[in-house]
């Protein structure tokens, strides 16, 4: 028993960058953990995606390709993943901590299926004396724990945008097509419809740049200013819990303890005071810029750069300055 399985998430055949980060981390840990790296791909029409991963550096790519896997379902994806993990004999399972990963990972570990240890939302992975140790923030980022596995398998979900996504490459992966362990269409619960609430806009948890607005934005119309900066920076719009509670923005955009945890290269907080619940969702961002009227706002304690001022003056000026740089 050894090796690492990486469960890849894809949308329309494109493997998510967060999953590539998980795969890259698995390749870096391959020699320490021992055994090979197996990537697991589930969906419909996966041939191209599998082909693209051939030179990623992975040893094997197991592909479950069937019509009823086109959309995610916990039961369906879990059964496929468990089958592939058990067949590979892997001792570690890596998965990106996206919305889907946060659902799939605990169900893999917690169910009777693998009966594995589980560490969620990890920011670092190391191997000590053959044991995998995961580092993860807890209590809204007020404490950090290093967790060791004491069961045969360890499932880790990795926080997006934290791990380097560069693949080692080398070798050629064996592509193995596998049959799901259930009859087509028979997955327990079933989905009756899928809608794109975000209107095709970017997922705040996976974006490189996030521009967030809080109560200081003043109302739903004020978010046009936030949106404009997000567009100039090619990023996603985020929101504090206060404005989601007020109904100004959809829940999918909420950053914080009760929303998404984000870790972009750049986080711009506009009119957000920085309650601990919000900080929990963004403090591992690489560069944090905060704009707030109140010089005492706690957001300035975690920010790299702070501006005390009216966001309706500063943010448009910043949008323009960014535009000029790109011209």
């Amino acid at each position: 028993m050894s090796g690492i399985c990486v469960i890849l998430e894809q949308r329309g055949g494109d493997v998510k960058r967060a999953s590539i980060e998980a795969l890259a981390e698995a390749l870096r840990q391959r020699s320490a953990i021992g055994g090979g790296v197996t990537a697991i791909l589930m969906g419909s029409d996966m041939a191209t995606a599998a082909e693209q991963l051939k030179s990623s550096g992975a040893d094997k790519i197991v592909v479950f390709d069937r019509g009823d896997l086109a959309h995610y379902s916990t039961e369906g994806y879990r059964s496929c993943a468990v089958q592939a993990i058990q067949a590979s004999g892997a001792t570690a399972v890596f998965i990106a901590a996206t919305v889907q990963g946060r659902d799939l990972a605990p169900s893999l570990a917690g169910g009777a299926a693998l009966d594995a240890g589980y560490a969620a939302d990890c920011t670092d992975v190391e191997v000590d004396g053959g044991r995998v140790i995961a580092t993860r923030p807890v209590y809204a980022g007020k404490a950090t724990v290093k967790v060791a596995c004491n069961s045969a398998t360890f499932v880790l979900s990795l926080r997006p945008n934290v791990f380097d996504a560069s693949l080692t490459g080398g070798g050629e992966a064996v592509i193995e097509s596998a049959d799901p362990p259930f009859t087509e269409g028979d997955v327990g619960t079933h989905v009756t419809s899928i809608s794109d609430d975000a209107g095709g806009s970017r997922d705040v948890a996976e974006a490189d740049v996030v521009v967030s607005g809080g109560r200081g934005v003043g109302g739903p119309e004020g978010f046009a200013t936030i949106q404009a900066l997000a567009e100039a920076l090619d990023g996603a719009v985020g929101a504090s819990r206060a404005v989601v509670d007020l109904g100004w923005r959809p829940h999918a955009e909420q950053v914080g303890q009760t929303g998404k945890v984000v870790s972009p290269k750049l986080y711009v907080a506009c009119g957000i005071s920085g309650a601990i619940q919000h900080l929990a969702g963004m403090r591992t961002s690489k560069v944090i810029v905060a704009v707030n009227k109140d010089a005492e706002a706690p957001i300035f304690k975690v920010a790299d750069y702070g501006i005390v001022g009216d966001l309706f003056e500063v943010v448009p000026a910043l949008t323009e300055a960014i535009g000029q740089l790109e011209d």
Partner: protein
């Protein structure tokens, strides 16, 4: 329809958290607990269903310092029953908590179990999924907006990338609630006091379950604090130009 809402109490994060001498857990002697926010949403969503379709709502919680208050508050908000689970160690992991709650719930006549999708003390989203595993019923997690029609529940589940999926499910089922359709209601203190006078909480003794949790904490520590922001001053245009410059440097 009988809805059971198992709620978790978690350390109040507004307070300073101290690590114990072993460096493996919080110093729990002086911790103050409050209801896990997601669990508060689960109660709210259960009460919304009760009001719209009629249902009986039972809230259960493992005994901690503030458990009585949390349970009385749930009753004041409109829950029908409140059960306190005693005998479970304070530092219990999600696995032990799930096992203890399962012991209590399995003996109840329930249709739907609604719990918070995750909790501040683990953020691993396992309670609902583990409960479902122990109870032997299916689970839909990361759910919002639950509606009932006859024997069928329609739930909305968030997918990655801002997609929403609609599921139709039938009891028995466990739901991990991400957000209620409205902000959890407030129970007036006077009403909570009145309930405390009139009602006695049900108690069920469950010993620490012998559960293999699969992992152990080797070390817990507080992360390094940042130095605080470098404050930029000047006109909006000046400040914007400098930020744009800085970002450009960081990017390249």
């Amino acid at each position: 329809m009988n809805i059971v809402v198992p709620v978790k109490l978690v350390p109040d994060l507004v307070e300073e958290l101290e690590i114990n001498d072993d460096g493996t857990d919080l110093e729990r002697d002086f911790l103050s607990y409050k209801i896990n926010e997601f669990c508060d949403h689960a109660i709210e969503e259960a009460l919304q269903i009760k009001e719209a379709h009629g249902a009986s709502v039972t809230v259960i919680a493992i005994e901690r310092d503030e458990t009585d208050k949390v349970l009385y508050t749930a009753l004041a908000k409109g829950a029908d029953r409140a059960v306190k689970v005693t005998g479970v160690d304070e530092a219990a992991t999600t696995h032990t908590a799930a096992k203890a709650m399962c012991t209590v719930i399995a003996g109840m006549d329930y249709d739907v179990v609604m719990t918070g999708v995750q909790a501040a003390d683990d953020r691993d989203g396992q309670l609902g999924i583990l409960l479902a595993g122990y109870l032997g019923v299916p689970c839909v997690s990361v759910v919002s907006d639950v509606s009932v029609s006859g024997d069928t529940l329609t739930v909305h589940k968030e997918y990655s990338g801002g997609m929403m999926a609609r599921y139709e499910v039938t009891p028995k089922i466990v739901l991990g609630v991400q957000a209620a359709r409205q902000t959890p209601r407030y129970a007036p203190v006077s009403r909570v006091r009145q309930i405390m006078k009139e009602t006695e909480l049900e108690e069920v003794l469950v010993g620490d379950a012998d559960v293999d949790v699969g992992s152990t904490v080797r070390r817990m520590y507080t992360p390094e604090k940042g130095e605080g922001a470098e404050m930029l001053e000047g006109s909006s245009e000046d400040v914007a130009a400098r930020i744009a410059q800085l970002l450009n440097e960081k990017r390249s």
